[in-house]
Symmetry: C2
Subunit: 230 residues, 2 copies
């Protein structure tokens, strides 16, 4: 899994268990996209599950004013579009290929046939949807409550943990501003503050994390306690 590409809404990314992956790939149609090509548009209604086989897909939303709000970048073996299949809902995101990308697409018809054959699929997707929902609700809460520098720190921390052990997170201020829905100027100010606190170090096109433990600890401390009384 191309860790460095993962960012955005936490928990949105999730790779498939091996057995399930193989069954899905067997039922899928392969499609090739070149860099920047549109994979799906927000509002599309054809119900199908989309899996990234290679390359990456950038998910996001384009605003009424043309502005772009990034949500996540999906790497190999990550998938999306599950609510078109299970909920009969339209696509929520636009998706564009990042670099040459191969997509496996499974129509609802074929997917339903799989559901009968492989009993574990429903349980897997139930757990998976529950996780994504939980992540989304947490994200809502963060957006509403945390000060911007905490949001930024949390996002960087998440990206770092998704990445493995590298002390470097490859992300631009522009990307952070898309994810969190604020301007680059605000991101810059937040990063400056975090750097002053010794939690991160700014660099060109990347953020250095001198002490992952320290960052993680600080991020945790900014979150809500598990409350008791109103």
């Amino acid at each position: 899994m191309s860790g460095q590409l993962d960012y955005g809404l936490p928990g949105l990314q999730e790779t498939l268990p091996t057995t399930l992956r193989e069954a899905l790939y067997d039922a899928a149609v392969s499609l090739n996209y070149s860099d920047g090509q549109l994979i799906q548009a927000r509002g599309d209604t054809d119900p199908s599950l989309t899996i990234v086989k290679s390359g990456a897909a950038r998910l996001g939303q384009i605003g009424i004013d043309g502005s772009y709000a990034g949500m996540a970048v999906m790497g190999p073996d990550q998938f999306f579009g599950e609510f078109t299949i299970f909920g009969g809902l339209p696509r929520e995101f636009d998706a564009f290929a990042v670099g040459p990308t191969v997509i496996a697409k499974i129509s609802k018809t074929r997917f339903d046939r799989l559901l009968d054959k492989h009993k574990g699929i429903r349980s897997y997707f139930l757990a998976f949807l529950a996780q994504r929902l939980h992540a989304a609700l947490t994200f809502v809460d963060d957006l509403r409550r945390l000060p911007l520098n905490a949001q930024v720190a949390k996002t960087i921390n998440m990206m770092h943990q998704a990445d493995g052990k590298s002390p470097t997170v490859k992300v631009t201020h522009e990307e952070l501003s898309e994810i969190l829905g604020v301007t680059r100027v605000s991101i810059n100010k937040a990063l400056r503050q975090l750097e002053k606190s010794g939690l991160i170090e700014r660099a060109y096109g990347r953020i250095e994390i001198p002490s992952p433990a320290k960052l993680d600890h600080w991020v945790q401390s900014q979150s809500r306690p598990n409350a008791a009384e109103i």
Copy 2:
């Protein structure tokens, strides 16, 4: 369904189909709460599905500073806590009884037994989780992009539609401020603006909607078009 109590995250509320409801109530334990009593605390880890039998449950989160962010009020036959069962995750919200309230609680053990007996349950919850996830993602998007007055209008419009045909929405400024995570002052300013545009009328403890069609149309016009190219 006690429509006037519904508000908050759209799609979070959903009543149960009759057959499923009966099976669930059979497997459940009944618990009684008095007004304001704590039903569950954020962070609780016992996996169980919680259904409101009568009365209502107010879901929300309490901040590190003691502030409260409302998420929804669940009425009769609405349920929550599904991701503790399916995802093994801790509770995301604090829940308090609104008025005398009876809660049906189904432990994961009992629920799993039901899953084997009633084949349709998994499919129902898959669709349901997909809907909730979709609603949550839409809500994230709204929070990030829409100006406050559009958020307020959208929330009121949603409450109005959940309510049926009544041209009156019973909600206080305080409640709106909890839902949208802004201060009462900001809500007031937004409402004044919406009133000046003729979309709503302010009243004591309620909002009047002179022309639901007009409000709905305006709300739609504030949303994103289904995008094409980046």
